[in-house]
Amino acid sequence: MSMSTPSISPGSKPPLAVLTARRVSTVIFVVALFALWQWYSMNMPPVLIPSPARVFDRFAELWTDPRNLAYAIDSLVHVVVSVLLAFVLGVAIALLGYYFDVLDLAIYGRLTPFLNSFSSIGWAFLAMIWFGVNEGSVIFATTIVLLPFAIINAGTGLRELDREMIEMGRSFGRGARRQIIWIILPMMFPYLFATIRLCFGIGWQVVLTAELLCGSSGLGMLINLARQRYWTDMVFAVAALILIVVYLTDRIIFAAIQQRLRRRYELT
């Protein structure tokens, strides 16, 4: 798990960068952790600490057993749908606050703090009671938990917009729709992207909780099943899967896109 961070720009790579002290110590640390895990698991019952080999077997099972794979895909769908919903709603609400100054306090002083401090477990329970045990509940609970993050991020993006550019846009045309399409949204793009990145990271956490509590299909349900049957190795395997998915999408896909965006949007 010692990937090189994409934040290192390709130009500044010193020769033999692979062997810097920093990297060596990181690799040693990871290897030592696995060794410790292996040694400790030999002295403990597998219900408490399953050995790395057992977890690996379970991990492989996640991919080979079509039912397990379906759970993983279900969770991914839940995350993507909720993130998109929260994103669209959040941007719409932030834009509303931007165009109607009166709503500023209502949005950032009432709505967001309320949503932000409302317990996510509460939402999951309520969703289950209101909509029953199904995917809709999971998506509702996740969306509403992600919503304040989306509003705050999009709102910050709007507040940081270059006022001079907006004025330039107004001097050429007065249509609000054209302003949004040609100037405001493109200028907000880096912020919007950061919002999606953040929501995606939190989304996994919330989706698992919601799936577990609402009992709908997905990795959360698999974890619950594993918990009730004391399949600790399965709990580990699901955790590993999520770690890998989140880490890879964030550090490789999102970070790379963000890097490109930053380069493109910087006028120097």
Binding site: M165, E167, M168, G169, F172, G173, R174, R178, P186, R264
Partner: protein, 253 residues
């Protein structure tokens, strides 16, 4: 000469600060008008009032025969900083102004042709697909001039467009803007804080006082272009302008 812009007893105040107290002047159709005044007297604000980016508290602004709020289509801006979108190349930035103004009413190919011919006009025929980050300060400002001309305004408002450029570029841009003005026949309202710039460019120079701002005097300069800034007529005008601006400075203290 017909007036294309008329300001009639315009007053503007921000909270407790009075910017204009019954300001009146007019701009003739097709003329090159410069506005000079002490720093902070609200020269840029004046352009915003004309372009309806800022409302007035009292008085009337008439542009091309209608109230300013209805006439913004007649006007295009060149700002002090070029205000180009960094993710669009030169051509796409010129197209942007047209997209914002005309929407779908003008086809993409038409907008592109317009952008190309105007970039040729401002001397960027070879740099159409460069991004703002790859252009020099002068080139960026040329793009923003092309962007303004592309929407075919009758009036171009320029807010100290050359003040951020180095001396050599600034001198060259002045010559070029006069050429462009002659070729296109637009009315240009040009805000500057440099007396020599006004002397070189303007048909008429409107001199503003410090706040609360009013018109101190309007000076006509009839000398043929290209102008010799050391000639007797311009020397006399320079002396008058310096006197007016210096005097208004004394009033403050």
């Amino acid at each position: 000469m017909t007036a294309i812009i008329e300001l009639d007893n315009v007053s503007v105040a921000f909270q407790r600060e009075v910017v204009y107290d019954r300001l009146s002047f007019s701009v003739n159709d097709g003329e090159f008008l410069c506005i000079v005044g002490p720093s902070g007297c609200g020269k840029s604000t004046l352009l915003r009032v004309i372009g309806d980016l800022l409302g007035v508290d009292m008085g009337g602004v008439t542009v091309a025969g209608s109230p300013a709020a209805k006439a913004w289509q007649e006007i295009a801006y060149v700002f002090q900083s070029p205000r180009l979108l960094p993710w669009r190349d030169a051509e796409a930035n010129v197209i942007l102004g047209q997209q914002l103004r005309f929407g779908r009413a003008r086809s993409m190919s038409e907008m592109r042709d317009k952008a190309r011919s105007l970039l040729e006009l401002v001397g960027l025929g070879r740099d159409m697909h460069k991004y703002p980050a790859m252009l020099s300060g002068g080139e960026r400002q040329r793009v923003s001039i092309a962007r303004a001309l592309a929407v075919e305004p009758r009036i171009v408002l320029m807010d100290e467009p050359f003040s951020a450029l180095d001396v050599t570029t600034r001198r060259r841009m002045r010559t070029e803007i006069v050429e462009i003005w002659k070729k296109t026949g637009k009315t240009i309202v040009f805000v500057t804080h440099e007396i020599d710039e006004a002397l070189e460019l303007a048909d008429r120079v409107v001199v503003l006082s410090a706040k609360p701002t009013r018109v101190l005097e309007t000076i006509s300069i009839a000398a043929a272009r290209p102008r010799n800034l050391a000639g007797p007529e311009l020397n006399a005008a320079r002396a008058r302008l310096s006197h007016l601006l210096g005097l208004s400075g004394h009033h403050q203290e």
